[in-house]
């Protein structure tokens, strides 16, 4: 069954790595819903956040292919229940419309939006939240003439993660411990194998 998965990839900062990761998806004709690259909790280590709609089996195989890339330290995949995530959206509307129609103000309050720029001719609102929330404001603003709209990629925090500091230290050693070399088979063996 297909569902939304958030893939989190810790990598070295290397030109061309974005392409190496992107072509793993395009080769398999998998559409990337959103992709974000940013710094991570560790200086010099980059963090990719990729959202795709796929079956768990496909996501697992894709993650193995990502992890196989030389400059990738680790790839995780999580369902929506396992992450806390946000997306940001910006909306440009005509200021005249806003001033005239009080309803809009109420809608903005309901959608948790803020005005981040107000000019005579236009106003820019911002919301952060899940897709439904940012979509809700589009729907609300559309009748009043939404001039421009843009939404960022998803960024996500893994609920169960303890961060990458300890792992990185292990990776820097020549012989990392068994625990750090994670693998679904090796860590959930009883589910995979029973005599």
């Amino acid at each position: 069954m297909k569902q939304e998965f958030t893939i989190t990839v810790y990598t070295e900062n290397q030109i061309g790595l974005l392409n190496r990761i992107a072509i793993i998806f395009s080769r398999r004709k998998i559409n990337i819903d959103s992709m974000n690259t940013s710094p991570s909790e560790i200086e010099g280590i980059h963090r990719f956040t990729i959202v795709i709609d796929e079956t768990e089996e496909v996501v697992r195989k894709v993650c193995r292919q990502i992890e196989k890339q030389v400059e990738v330290l680790k790839a995780y995949f999580n369902t929506n229940d396992e992450v806390v995530w946000q997306e940001m959206a910006l909306y440009k509307v005509s200021t005249d419309e806003i001033v005239e129609k009080v309803k809009v103000e109420r809608l903005l309050r309901e959608c948790g939006a803020r005005a981040i720029a107000i000019r005579k001719d236009f106003t820019v609102f911002e919301t952060t939240g899940h897709r439904e929330e940012t979509n809700k404001l589009i729907k609300a603003l559309e009748p009043f003439g939404l001039i421009e709209f843009v939404r960022s990629a998803r960024i996500a925090i893994i609920k169960e993660s303890h961060g990458f500091h300890a792992k990185l230290k292990e990776f820097e050693q020549k012989e990392p411990s068994e625990e750090v070399i994670e693998n679904e088979f090796l860590n959930q063996q009883e589910e995979v194998f029973s005599m």
């Binding site: 990598t11 070295e12 030109i15 061309g16 392409n19 190496r20 072509i23 080769r27 697992r60 195989k61 193995r64 292919q65 992890e67 196989k68 030389v70 400059e71 990738v72 330290l73 990185l168 990776f171 820097e172 020549k174 012989e175 990392p176 068994e178 070399i181 693998n183 088979f185 090796l186 063996q189 995979v192 194998f193 005599m195």
Partner: protein
């Protein structure tokens, strides 16, 4: 891709002689740093072709000619296939030079081939000056992005100071873990740039790259338990054994367990072909028993192989009854195609002895006898006619049979792609490892002739026979020029059936014999060879075959033997595409 580069200005006084010792800081150019890296890595042979953007490296090479051999090929594709042949015959990393633009794009087929067949290569391409990147400069191509999907790693160097560390990484990545091709693109300014060289330090660790997984004992124990309980265990093995130098460990493993073992096309020669437990070849044109019994075994032990579709046939009907133990160094291979019951992730050089220690010494005579039954049937229906035909037409199989008698299985056999490849792999005898060199995963026609040149440089003391069809040989026939110029002792055996035989076979079997563009004409190969000052002859009669092969093998230097074989012979057995391995056809 030779060009005259008008941008280049060089002060002749700047020329530096090669550095002998790099203990203290010396000023050298990026180009010299490349060659110093090669010397430190033990590189003795380079296959390459010069051109504008790689000229500074070739200029530096001029001063290193007594330390490093450079083989001038006739086309960059020939260069990279030669590098592959060298790597496969020697077990070392192959090194290839090409210039920017078309020189680099000509490497792409070879990179893809090396990627899928896990061949360690370091390819150096020249690139335009850094300030010209992205300007559509002459012979500028975005090599890094073109080669990304077909390299294990690639990197563009624009500053000479990076060269020692980048090359150290390149050799480390290419040769460790699951090997593969690495491409380093070096801009011309970096090749010319002088910098303070502090010596070359070999790379032994990259924090984001773990070539050798830690073996978990409990998995080995579980695998051993399964093997000990098995009534009908079956081992299938691939090139992982050869790449891991684990031939001895593998032999000890199957001998102790009394396990029948069958090979993938790249696993061929890891175990001597006449070993009593070697039950033959897997896959589309493999042997009858190994294919059918894959679907009857109770424990399938896959060692260093990746369940290619040509091996598995229809996946949802593949070995469904069996518990699967998969030994592989590459975690991405585990469960990729066939779900494993026990994944033994690790280097088989380590995991096989651990398994051998835990398994009980056993024989499975009844189970082994079953393979023999199928072999008898295959001999009756297929092999007998192939090796001892009663028709006037020569068969490819009888050529290989006589070749076996004459070489006694000691030669390196390099094959191209198609019917001759399948027949050769089915019937050729091998005593030693690293003796079968062929384009497996990619199926690159034109591979054999250049790869054979490389193989001869990789194993100069061994006889190297390139067996090629009349289609494939015409794809890279220009490499006869390389053989001529380097006097490389390569035996070229063309099996000419006057067709693109494998495509014709499929058109016959699956497209109602509608022969669409498979009728390929050949030049007079003996005359062509003669033009390259290579001796040769053509054999069309059975009576002359043995003598012809003898002449070829005994000839001092390269020799071309063209053997005319039956036009419309088919390779059988065959697992038709989309069928299960159990549905293998004998005719």
């Amino acid at each position: 891709m030779e060009t005259i580069d008008i941008i280049e200005k060089k002060d002749p006084q700047e020329k530096v002689t090669p550095v002998e010792k790099a203990t203290e800081t010396v000023s050298i150019t990026g180009s010299q740093a490349v060659l110093e890296a090669f010397i430190a890595e033990g590189v003795e042979t380079i296959f390459g072709y010069p051109g504008g953007a790689i000229m500074p490296i070739y200029d530096a090479l001029y001063d290193y000619h007594d330390k490093i051999k450079h083989i001038l090929v006739r086309h960059e594709q020939g260069g990279i296939h030669a590098g592959q042949g060298f790597a496969r015959a020697s077990g070392k990393t192959g090194v290839v030079f090409a210039t920017s633009g078309p020189g680099a794009t000509n490497l792409v087929t070879g990179l893809a081939d090396a990627m899928i067949d896990s061949t360690p290569l370091v390819c150096i391409t020249g690139q335009v000056y850094a300030h010209l990147l992205g300007t559509d400069a002459f012979q500028e191509v975005d090599v890094i992005n073109i080669t990304t999907p077909v390299t294990k790693w690639n990197y563009q160097v624009t500053d000479a100071t990076e060269i020692p560390s980048v090359l150290a990484k390149a050799f480390y990545i290419a040769g460790t873990g699951r090997p593969g091709p690495v491409l380093i693109d070096i801009t011309k300014n970096a090749q010319l740039q002088k910098f303070d060289y502090e010596g070359y330090i070999k790379c032994t660790h990259i924090r984001s790259y773990r070539p050798k997984p830690i073996v978990r004992k409990n998995y080995v124990e579980q695998a051993a338990k399964l093997i000990n309980e098995a009534k009908k265990p079956f081992v299938i093995f691939g090139q992982g054994i050869i790449l891991g130098n684990a031939e001895k460990e593998f032999k000890a493993f199957i001998e102790k367990g009394g396990l029948p073992a069958a090979w993938t096309i790249l696993g061929l020669s890891a175990l001597p072909t006449d070993h009593p437990q070697n039950v033959g070849m897997l896959g589309m044109h493999g042997n009858y028993g190994p294919n059918v019994l894959t679907n009857e075994c109770d424990v399938l032990i896959a060692v260093g192989m990746r369940f290619d579709d040509r091996v598995t046939g229809r996946l949802d009907k593949y070995a469904k009854q069996a518990k699967v133990i998969h030994l592989d160094i590459d975690p991405a291979e585990i469960d990729k195609n066939v779900k494993s019951t026990v994944p033994v992730w690790g280097d088989c050089k380590e995991t096989l002895p651990m398994l051998t220690q835990l398994i009980e010494a056993k024989q499975h005579p009844e189970w082994m006898a079953k393979f023999n039954e199928f072999t008898q049937k295959e001999i009756e229906v297929v092999i007998k006619n192939e090796l001892n035909p009663t028709t006037d037409e020569l068969t490819m199989g009888e050529v290989i049979k006589i070749l076996n008698e004459l070489t006694n299985g000691d030669a390196i056999i390099v094959t191209d792609v198609g019917q001759h490849q399948m027949v050769t792999c089915r019937y050729a005898k091998f005593n030693e490892t690293k003796s079968n060199i062929t384009s497996g995963g990619a199926g690159t026609m034109g591979f054999a002739l250049p790869a054979a040149i490389g193989a001869k440089f990789g194993a100069p003391d061994r006889t190297v026979v390139a067996i090629i069809g009349d289609g494939g040989v015409q794809m890279t026939i220009q490499e006869l020029g390389t053989i001529m110029q380097t006097s490389t002792d390569v035996k070229i055996l063309i099996l000419n059936n006057q067709f693109l035989g494998m495509v014709r076979q499929w058109q016959q079997l699956f497209h109602d014999k509608r022969y669409s563009f498979v009728d390929i004409e050949s030049p007079d190969y003996v005359q062509v060879a003669k033009g390259y000052r290579i001796d040769g002859q053509r054999v069309a009669e059975r009576a002359n075959l043995k003598e012809g092969l003898k002449t070829m093998l005994n000839h001092n230097g390269a020799y071309l033997l063209e053997v005319m074989v039956g036009k419309e012979n088919n390779v059988f057995p065959m697992v038709p595409q989309g069928c299960s391995v159990a549905e293998i056809r004998l005719s």
